[in-house]
């Protein structure tokens, strides 16, 4: 569904991602793990067009999207969240979601100015889809609140919701449970499972090994920007290269 082909990213002297190839398969939950600084977030930035690869290519369903701008990638049905929770914190919860759905609609300047029938239909559709997503996130009764009034976990859910509201084909989650306690982590993990059950393909970056082993169908392991292992959780766990990388670094990556 999404294919990364020998992608390399250099920052001045530093090679953040080196000759990386992998694929995200329709319907799966793929996890990307690796020690801090391994280049995981950089991979997301490369896929979504936030960064341009130094070399290599990225395809969505055989369509080359290498070097496309972020909003163009998004409109191909690739949504993402950021490692540090990123929200429209000056706006209400419902506004955050409606913004996320906008590209699916025809709500442009002239339609809005003249309140055309199409505007009415799309505006209503956007509102409805936003409320539906809030229900799914368990945030429906908070729709009218401003973002700072939400708890940390609720903010993480909302960030996922902003990416999810436009019904993407692939959802990229960068450490969706970072900074959460066990109980909250479990709830967010459950949410990710339900996202996949809905038919959205998920690729997530995680630090929490235990959580990943129970959640992911496949795992890609990065170390110093290189792929050192790939496979089912059980295979990866017993891979000598992975054990070495993790014993050399931190136990929990």
């Amino acid at each position: 569904m999404l294919r990364v082909e020998s992608v390399t990213k250099r920052f001045q002297g530093l090679v953040a991602v080196q000759d990386l190839s992998f694929e995200i398969i329709k319907g799966e939950i793929l996890a990307i793990i690796g020690p801090n600084g391994a280049g995981k977030s950089t991979v997301f930035n490369l896929i979504t067009g936030t960064l341009k690869p130094t070399s290599g290519q990225i395809f969505i369903n055989e369509l080359d999207i290498t070097g496309a701008r972020p909003h163009q990638v998004a409109s191909k049905g690739i949504s993402r969240t950021f490692q540090t929770t990123s929200l429209f914190d000056q706006l209400r919860v419902i506004d955050n979601l409606m913004i996320g759905y906008k590209w699916r609609t025809n709500l442009g300047f002239w339609n809005t100015l003249f309140h055309t029938p199409r505007w009415k239909a799309h505006q209503a559709e956007t509102y409805q889809r936003a409320m539906e997503t809030l229900d799914f996130l368990g945030l429906a009764e908070k729709h009218d609140q401003f973002v700072p009034a939400l708890s940390q976990e609720e903010q993480k859910r909302l960030a996922i919701g902003i990416a999810l509201v436009s019904k993407p084909h692939i959802l990229l989650l960068d450490e969706p449970t970072g900074g959460l306690i066990q109980e909250e982590t479990d709830r967010v993990t459950d949410l990710i499972r339900r996202v996949r059950e809905q038919g959205t393909t998920v690729c997530l970056i995680e630090h929490k090994m235990q959580m990943i082993m129970g959640l992911a169908d496949r795992i890609v392991v990065l170390n110093y920007g290189k792929k050192i292992s790939e496979g089912a959780p059980a295979e990866v766990k017993s891979d000598q290269a992975v054990i070495e990388a993790y014993l050399g670094g931190e136990v929990h990556a």
């Binding site: 909003h71 000056q90 706006l91 906008k102």
Partner: protein
């Protein structure tokens, strides 16, 4: 989705009535002219607010675009083109030049846009004072005709030879601009402006073409400035470089910030309240600017949404009080 509590609507109705009846209770020609100018400034400042307040792009050339509208109407009407054509054409010229400025500068984030518009504003002001063949230099252009009367079936015609006629024209345009802005801003489309202001990388990642969004906002804001400038020329009957100057930009900036950024009434309130304040502080001479500077900093720190933001906080208290007293009456929001 975006409704207002009932007492706010009543307040707006009262203000509208007061504005419509103004010529009956302000007979003093000098004050009347100040009020009419405030209406024009309110239009221009509302355009600036779209760019600065709602979209978060610091434009420092708004006076220049006002000036383009003013000189456009002055030059065209002196050349025999009717005002009713000259006005939209001038505003379109301002919008088009805005597009040319925005295309290279809005691509990136950061201070680049602010710096370029600041320089552009000063350049336009200098050009307006020195391109004598086109602008008449420092003397400007005189004898600009008033708009021609509009024939109305069965009614006669609407004339603009009097101050009152111009006032109603300006008021009509202000209401039209506010109505258009209301539709644009309180909609999903308008949310994209605020998304760009609030978190551009996130807006980008959820499929919003942030560059195009900033361009639309800037060009629309410049168009509105051009409209206001064009009416200014017809009303004053003369334009000079001060109608395109950077001092004008700073006045608009003060109206927007003190009145209330990213609120629709803010720039209007600012455009009416600040000139009155200025008038009262006449005796302070140029030291007024010192006081405004201090005021500006205070407002930015303590009332980021200006006068209107402060009033809204009060309003929310009233709404909460109403809800306590009449629990199942209207549900207040915004």
């Amino acid at each position: 989705m975006f409704t207002k509590p009932i007492h706010t609507k009543l307040l707006y109705l009262a203000i509208l009535a007061a504005a419509l009846l103004l010529p009956w209770y302000v007979p003093d020609a000098y004050i009347f002219q100040i009020v009419t100018m405030s209406v024009l400034y309110a239009i221009a400042a509302s355009g600036m607010n779209l760019i600065l307040g709602f979209t978060g792009q610091v434009t420092l050339a708004h006076g220049a675009f006002f000036g383009m509208g003013a000189y456009g109407v002055a030059i065209m009407t002196k050349a025999g083109i009717v005002f009713w054509l000259a006005l939209p054409v001038s505003a379109l010229i301002a919008a088009f030049i805005g597009l040319l400025i925005g295309l290279p500068t809005l691509r990136t984030r950061g201070a680049y846009f602010a710096i370029v518009t600041l320089c552009f504003g000063v350049i336009v002001w200098i050009v307006s004072g020195n391109w004598i063949e086109l602008t008449g230099g420092h003397n400007g252009i005189f004898g600009i005709p008033r708009p021609s009367p509009i024939p109305v079936p069965f009614f006669g015609q609407i004339e603009f030879f009097t101050q009152t006629g111009m006032y109603y024209l300006a008021l009509a345009v202000l209401l039209l601009v506010l109505f258009a802005l209301y539709r644009l801003v309180y909609s999903v489309f308008g949310l994209t402006f605020m998304a760009v202001r609030n978190n551009e990388p996130l807006a980008d990642s959820v499929g919003i073409n942030t560059y195009a969004t900033k361009l639309v906002s800037f060009v629309a804001g410049c168009f509105i400035a051009g409209l206001a400038g064009g009416m200014y020329a017809a009303m004053m009957g003369a334009v000079s470089p001060s109608a395109a100057g950077y001092m004008l930009t700073f006045n608009f900036l003060i109206f927007v910030i003190l009145g209330g950024m990213a609120t629709l009434p803010g720039p209007v309130v600012g455009a009416f309240a600040i000139p009155v304040l200025m008038e009262f502080m006449q005796f302070l001479d140029d030291y007024r600017m010192l006081i405004f500077g201090a005021l500006l900093i205070m407002v930015i720190i303590y009332f980021p949404m200006g006068l209107v933001g402060g009033l809204r906080r009060l309003n929310q208290k009233v709404a909460a009080w109403r809800q306590q007293k009449f629990p199942e009456s209207d549900h207040a929001s915004r």
